[in-house]
Amino acid sequence: MSGGDFFGDLRDLYQEVILDHGRKPRNFRRLEDADRTSRGDNPMCGDRMELFLKMTPDGHIADAAFQGRGCAVSMASASLMTETVKGKTPDEAQALGTAFRDLAMTGQCPTCAASLEDAMERLTPLSGVHEFPSRVKCATLAWHTLNAALAGAKEASSE
């Protein structure tokens, strides 16, 4: 890997975890038997994703997967999200989304409850995005789409 110095402090944004998930997004597939699906669009840059959720009978997220196109940040964010929301209730997943948006916009997470700590730790590599205001929406698109899916909406936009 080269170019670190040439591109200044960009390792803060493009940490190895982000590059890895950006290149090889996890849960990048359709869930044919999904209970909830929603599309997310970022019309300004053309990022687009479709999110699939499979719920357990008692209302937990049994499986989460996505397909779509976008930059490394949006792909990595969606990939990490699908990993972290599995096993969560919709309320827990939404609380995690709120906390993540704080993290993406400020680099910190004042609203993080202790119960979210493990999940938030996994999402922390994305905190660097707060230094790049024009890129915050890349990181939050997946979470907007998750909110829409949980609310039963078919579409979400990060605009």
């Binding site: 080269s2 170019g3 670190g4 591109f7 493009y14 840059c45 053309g46 490394a72 890129r135």
Partner: protein
């Protein structure tokens, strides 16, 4: 005067402002160009010494401002070789100029059964107003294909004109994505032979080469000031006087009327008819200064500099592994959209920014064109100005190689 790019760069104060501790390499002039000191100072001087509202005051300062405003109109007319300065209408930008034609010619003169013919390489500004016209009045919208090389498909153009039902051809003189310069003289000849008028969007072209509306023979031509090293907020619609005379107003208000009563108002003659309200006076003065600036350097010299730069960039960018250039038109200007195999345009743009390089990422207000080339995710775009150097192109090419390694 010989063209000395390094001396020219000294005319642009912003070019000596480092970005992220690196020299600024500004390769987004196609979106908006930087401003020379001559423009900045002309606008400041206007506000400090010669400013009042125009066309109204019976006092000297207002007359001075009016003279400056009308002198700008004259400068625009000479710049594009318009036969008559009354044919020059000031607008906010090209978008407004096209909307003006869509409104006043499209709704005011064209019949609803007459089609509008655009092309796949248009900017959204030359697509959406015609869709609005179609949806409101029924005028069919036809779209001329673009070849894989990124050139206008002239056979398709001829085929779509053949039935004589096209009232207006609205076309970019130069693509803001592909850099393609369209063969406007041939388009005009074909269109006129089939009874269609021609509107050319010169937003990109006017920056890169000498434009002569009389020689082109088109009916309308528009461009914007801020891409031509002038200020934002001022654009130009040029139209043949015989057309402008037939067109109803675009916006209603002060300055565009002959007389007003509560029963009826009558319209002023062009260009005043299309310039409702207080115009962009200071910006017109700035545009005049920008035109004087590029004219003093010489459009042929600017074009020659850019031709050499385009050839250089074609070679350099072709050498970057994994890079796909969008469009390879024979006749092209200094706009290069490209995809890098392992890097998304937005990641690339963020990365290059840290190296001091400003490029644009996305679909550049030309979503249908990106769809046409199967690049829905968008492209990165480097666009040149008269201050762009071969060294900057080399630096970009080197940075792209490093970016590809970064994302490997």
């Amino acid at each position: 005067m010989s063209f000395d790019v390094h001396r020219i760069r000294q005319d642009f104060p912003i070019l000596s402002q480092p970005q992220h501790g690196k020299p600024l390499v500004f390769l987004d002039s196609g979106a908006s160009a930087q401003k020379p000191r001559a423009v900045i100072e002309a606008m400041t001087r206007c506000m400090e010494t010669a400013y009042a509202n125009v066309h109204r005051g019976a006092y000297r300062l207002s007359e001075v401002a009016t003279d400056a405003f009308e002198a700008a109109r004259g400068a625009v007319a000479r710049f594009i070789n318009a036969p008559d300065a009354r044919e020059v209408v000031f607008t906010r930008n090209s978008t407004e100029a096209i909307n003006l034609v869509a409104h006043s010619w499209g709704r005011g003169v064209m019949r609803p059964d007459q089609a509008v013919l655009i092309s796949e390489l248009e900017h959204h500004a030359n697509i959406v107003p015609w869709q609005m016209l179609r949806d409101e009045r029924g005028n069919p919208l036809r779209v001329c294909r673009v070849t894989d090389a990124g050139e206008l498909d002239m056979e398709d153009l001829a085929a779509k004109l053949a039935d004589g039902k096209v009232g207006l051809v609205a076309l970019a003189h130069m693509s803001n994505v592909l850099g393609t310069v369209t063969p406007v003289e041939r388009v005009v000849a074909l269109a006129h032979a089939h009874g269609a008028k021609v509107l050319l969007d010169g937003s990109q072209a006017v920056v890169h080469r000498r434009v002569d509306v009389a020689a082109i023979g088109c009916d309308f031509y528009c461009f914007t000031g801020h891409k031509l090293y002038g200020p934002t907020g001022i654009g130009v619609l040029w139209g043949k006087l015989e057309h402008l005379d037939r067109m109803p107003p675009f916006l209603g208000g002060g300055d565009m009327i002959e007389s007003v009563s509560f029963e009826k108002s009558t319209w002023a003659k062009p260009p005043a008819r299309f310039e409702a309200g207080t115009p962009a006076i200071i910006e017109a003065v700035g545009l005049h200064a920008a035109i004087d600036y590029v004219t003093a350097i010489g459009m042929p010299a600017i074009e020659a500099h850019e031709r050499a730069l385009v050839d250089h960039a074609m070679r350099k960018l072709s050498d970057v592994p994994g890079l796909t250039l969008l469009g390879r038109a024979q006749d092209r200007g200094g706009v290069f959209a490209f995809a890098l195999d392992n890097s998304h345009p937005h990641d690339l743009s963020t990365l290059l920014d840290r190296a001091g390089i400003c490029i644009r990422a996305g679909r550049h207000c030309a979503e249908p064109l990106h769809t046409r080339f199967g690049l829905e995710q968008g492209t990165a775009r480097a666009s040149f100005g008269l201050y762009t150097t071969p060294e900057e192109v080399d630096y970009l090419a080197g940075a792209l190689v490093k970016a590809r390694e970064f994302f490997a």
